[in-house]
């Protein structure tokens, strides 16, 4: 796990760096916002800890620049002023969490763990059910063979794989996969379910999709 720490107070920077390294994180520490941005452009981090008040570029500017460039690395803001407006502005600008100074080191560590865990949980890169693997890196559905899924097929497959213990109604799928798009109807869901049925057969999987047009759906294994 590689972290970037941007904090201009030298003692605090050194203290936090030592603590994080002691917890086996790999840490790059910098002392202003400009330097932080330069590092982020060159390296990729699992998490970024930004002090708000920093010379050259402050933490908010760094955060806005990151998100504008679609860098989605989790960010924890350190705020000196425990002002509500500051925290709200930080979260609205795309921070994942904040911590007001002074803070307990124990709490800093817990928040870093939680921030990194959240990212891993929500963007599952690889899902598996029975003999099928769904890979979010390349949208490939694999059993014996592999095929590529379109975005909607992929999202539908993802939600089916995450809910193998219950059936999902057509309305539920319209709401969660098509986000209530006005053009999407019962037939849209059925067509995409049919695509996936064919693709499961094409990759030689024993997994099927149970359910009929307009009804509720669930992945089942052929043995069931």
């Amino acid at each position: 796990m590689k972290l970037l720490l941007a904090e201009d107070t030298r003692d605090l920077n050194r203290g936090v760096t030592m603590l994080l390294e002691h917890e086996y994180y790999e840490v790059d520490s910098v002392f202003d916002g400009q330097e932080a941005l330069e590092r982020i452009e060159q390296e990729s981090y699992d998490g970024i800890i930004l002090d708000i008040m920093m010379p050259r570029k402050d933490g908010m500017e760094v955060l806005q620049e990151l998100r504008r460039r679609h860098i989605l690395t989790p960010v924890l803001l350190l705020t000196a002023k425990a002002e509500v407006d500051d925290r709200v502005a930080g979260l609205d600008a795309g921070a994942d969490d904040y911590l007001a100074k002074p803070f307990a080191m124990k709490e800093l560590l817990a928040r870093i763990r939680s921030m990194i865990r959240r990212r891993e949980d929500y963007s599952e890169r690889r899902m598996q059910y029975e003999d099928i693997v769904l890979n979010a890196e390349d949208f490939a559905l694999t059993a014996g063979n592999s095929v590529r899924l379109s975005i909607k097929e992929f999202e539908l497959m993802q939600i089916l794989m995450a809910n193998t213990d219950r059936t999902l109604t057509t309305e539920y799928l319209l709401g969660h996969v098509w986000n209530g798009e006005p053009d999407a109807q019962e037939d849209t869901v059925w067509l995409y379910i049919s695509y996936l049925k064919g693709k499961l057969r094409a990759v030689g999987s024993t997994v099927r999709i149970a359910g009929s047009r307009g009804g509720a759906f669930r992945l089942v294994c052929d043995g069931e």
């Binding site: 063979n145 590529r148 379109s150 049919s194 064919g198 693709k199």
Partner: protein
């Protein structure tokens, strides 16, 4: 012997077998067109393997360059490629050929359900009639497109250097085309079922 070529006196019989096979396929197409209103075959190619590639194959396999080897040890002297519109058409043609009284199925390989590691997909059959072998490759238009383009690139790829990437990307293209085949089949089934 040299003037007659490697197939010798067998050549007229081989040509006759090709003609019979063509007629067989034409009749089947007509039959299906009348029944379902759709021709399952996009195109059908046949060939007798050229003298040069046959001799090269004998050398590769360590066989003597005789009519006996090329007709009875090697099974693709007579080749058919039947390109179909939909995946289901491939299996329909396969079933018909397998059911024919005049053809005996010697070997079958389903590279559609079990694609080759490079992404190649086709249904291969070795048939036998009156002692002669016929190799039949059945595939969809997409599979044919991929095979044709991959064939072009195969000879160019040693130039560029990053062969692993090209192999991986060709596989990805094959998987994407296979996915499209399933989508088109699903749409067809949906339209015909209505």
């Amino acid at each position: 012997m040299e003037a007659e070529g490697i197939y010798g006196e067998h050549l007229p019989e081989m040509e006759k077998i090709i003609d019979e096979m063509k007629t067989r396929i034409d009749l089947l197409r007509e039959h299906i067109r009348q029944k379902r209103g759709m021709d399952p075959v996009e195109h059908c190619l046949s060939r007798i393997k050229s003298e040069d590639s046959m001799r090269e194959k004998c050398r590769r396999k360590g066989l003597p360059e005789t009519a006996d080897s090329v007709l009875f040890q090697i099974h693709d002297a007579i080749g058919f490629r039947i390109v179909c519109a939909f995946v289901s058409d491939v299996y329909m043609i396969r079933d018909y050929l397998a059911d024919s009284d005049e053809l005996e199925v010697i070997e079958e390989k389903d590279y559609i359900r079990n694609a080759k590691p490079n992404g190649y997909r086709s249904y291969h059959m070795i048939l036998q009639t009156r002692g002669y072998y016929i190799e039949v490759q059945l595939r969809t238009i997409s599979m044919d497109t991929w095979a044709a383009l991959e064939h072009h690139l195969k000879y160019k790829k040693q130039i560029s250097g990053n062969e692993d990437l090209i192999v991986k990307e060709l596989k990805r293209c094959a998987d994407e085309l296979a996915s499209t085949d399933v989508s088109m089949q699903t749409l067809r089934d949906m339209i015909l079922d209505h």
